[in-house]
Symmetry: C2
Subunit: 412 residues, 2 copies
């Protein structure tokens, strides 16, 4: 039946990373691979109480179909919550999505024709790349500096794409504690990025899953909040601030025409998001203290990030050229090994030593040529003790790999 598969879907390759992740499921393995939020951050008792109450008292509403644009109750709750921040959308500027992955699907459907160019960070969020690939967009990766995307290169690449007669459509960016590197886009660069988008007439898709999870430094205004033209669409998920299993996010778009199209496309995609999960989230936001809850989450990840940084400093062979990022928030950091090391080749040996990571090349839009000596480590799921032990194991693997390559080089 393979002959019936669309050209669109045929372009989405089986992901190596999914295969590798299967190897990490054994309980004896300390895995830094998954991007899962820490379950201790889920306010489960409160959610249980709310869920039971909604299902008993409001079942006619929460078990029924809802509006494609999302429940007014949830959208109002989000507005009230974010009012004190720089974000103040109106009801019509919010679209509830079945988590941010659906947000990506909707913007790809609504804005990307086959061959359209989308610029993104290199490396960037893997599942966003999959969605852009599915919709047959051309992804152009822009290297990351310590303060985010290299905007000189972005300008060059935009100019080159325009010269080549391509339709340049959008920039996809994760400004805060980016997945996979943990890097944050500086305020100066946010302003310049918006200016570049204005000059080149590009949309900006600003993915903001970790913005609320800053545990160090001062928070930086979103690009969405600086935009006056409706050029920026922001994705804001509940997966890391409430619970991933609720599959809930909100998309912000200030341009009425774009929102109108997004709502139509949303309706064709799943009619509406579960009203049950929407109303549970709305009541949690309204009845409990979000700021206190977020403070606990930040504290949780702060401790874990500190444990990982301390272990990396203690065990990793810096003298051999191993380096890593130092994120101010979020769930991830990024390790760079000497160029001759291939993290995909090394992976089975890490599994033998009962530790796991995600190979760096998986996150590059070029499909695996770049990032071969890099890896993503998540500090979200393990305890500080497990983190220390896991990094100890990983460092051993890295040291052995470097030594083996040195012998190999000497033999040449």
């Amino acid at each position: 039946m393979k002959r019936h598969i669309s050209k669109r879907a045929a372009g989405v390759k089986r992901s190596t990373i999914r295969e590798l992740l299967k190897l990490t499921e054994k309980p004896e393995i300390i895995s830094f691979a998954g991007g899962l939020p820490a379950p201790e951050t889920f306010p489960h008792n409160e959610l249980a109480e709310i869920a039971a109450d909604e299902l008993r008292g409001h079942y006619k509403n929460v078990l029924q179909y809802g509006l494609a644009e999302g429940s007014r109750t949830l959208r109002r709750a989000v507005i009230d919550w974010l009012q004190p921040h720089e974000l103040a959308p109106t009801l019509d500027q919010l679209l509830v999505t079945t988590a941010s992955q659906q947000g990506l699907d909707l913007i790809a459907k609504a804005f990307l024709d086959p061959g359209d160019v989308i610029f993104c960070e290199a490396p960037t969020y893997l599942a966003a790349l999959q969605t852009f690939t599915l919709f047959q967009a051309e992804k152009i990766g822009i290297p990351l500096d310590d303060d985010g995307m290299n905007l000189d290169i972005l300008e060059e690449e935009i100019a080159a794409a325009k010269r080549a007669g391509k339709t340049t459509k959008a920039i996809y960016v994760i400004p805060d504690f980016q997945n996979p590197t943990g890097i944050t886009l500086s305020l100066e660069k946010r302003k310049r990025l918006l200016k570049i988008a204005q000059q080149a007439d590009l949309l900006i898709f600003e993915d903001n899953p970790y913005g609320q999870l800053r545990f160090e430094g001062e928070s930086i205004a979103s690009i969405y909040s600086m935009d006056t033209e409706g050029r920026v669409i922001m994705l804001f998920t509940f997966s890391k601030v409430l619970a991933a299993g609720m599959r809930l996010a909100v998309l912000f778009a200030n341009d009425a025409d774009l929102m109108e199209i997004l709502v139509r496309v949303k309706q064709a995609s799943d009619l509406c998001t579960s009203k049950l999960t929407q109303h549970i989230a709305a009541r949690y936001i309204t009845e409990y203290k979000m700021e206190e809850h977020l403070e606990q989450i930040r504290e949780c990840y702060h401790i874990k990030r500190n444990a990982m940084l301390a272990a990396l400093e203690k065990y990793m062979p810096v003298e051999d050229g191993v380096s890593w990022t130092r994120p101010d928030g979020g769930l991830f950091l990024w390790v760079r090994l000497p160029e001759r090391i291939d993290t995909e080749e090394m992976f089975p040996r890490a599994i033998d030593k009962e530790v796991a990571y995600v190979i760096g090349s998986a996150f590059y839009p070029d499909g695996g040529r770049q990032g071969r000596n890099e890896m993503r480590l998540s500090f979200s799921l393990n305890t500080p003790e497990e983190i220390e032990e896991g990094i100890r194991r990983l460092s051993e693997v890295v040291r052995e790999e470097i030594a083996a390559k040195r012998v190999g080089l000497a033999a040449v």
Copy 2:
């Protein structure tokens, strides 16, 4: 910003029906318009108990990300439930989707390239048409007889499309108590439809939201159950047998290659369906008696359908050529008025009389030329008393409309 909209999304028109539905929201209106399941069929107390228990005791699991293919717990529960029926898929032949609208989105993504031809009933499910339109497929409507799709015409249309050099891809069909007409595809026609699909090498998308809701007559085997080649993909939603607000369905596909692609596409669409709603449904199916629960739902709709049929017989001017279907299950029936009556033109007058329906033309793949004298009535939401009163009002509108047209004709 309109210039940034994709060709794909630009093709999805603002739906007239959404605008019309807004008019039906006033509480004094008896609306037969919406396709909503009856809230009294939601087992809300049981769901409340399960939800609270899952969130308290299993939050690490149900509030976390899950597998793209769906929770094994739910897939096993579905298999055990459907084992005594003719359906016996294996775990790998089931994909959990965020309700069947997402199932439609996934099959469109996975199988339909722009210009591919999909044959469907005329009239058919409105939101399926929207999805096929979004993916730029060519929809060819096949008229309905009392026993389902006219297969002679289907064969002619397939031959004509092949002669024209088009890529004929699939047949979309709702065999049981079809939305919008309530018509059921006969066993003979199911067998012949499968044979036609084999000969023309087409996939069959079998949408089965109402199959469990038969309140009269004998149930008929699904096309999926007769297929030995993996050519049929079946969509099976929980929206009408458990609760629409949970946004939960299961897709059946026996061909491993097609399932592999569907899982990849699912992952790019929303990563996974809410594990919370999946586990609530799985426990309900496992711990409660589905057959007893379904019996109650069938009884509920049976009473309401009877009330609607009785009221139609009592009030409608049959002598003027008004006719309707007599569904053996499901939520809908279909009314045909004399050809000179236009149900869209008549709509404001129905609203004035405080009764609502959905205009027939909305359900035709040709975009509104056919079905202008037809309408869909849903008997799911109102009480038998409201149904009688609503049909009385509607009949008055129809009688006046017929009389006015007669005067108009006489005047010509």
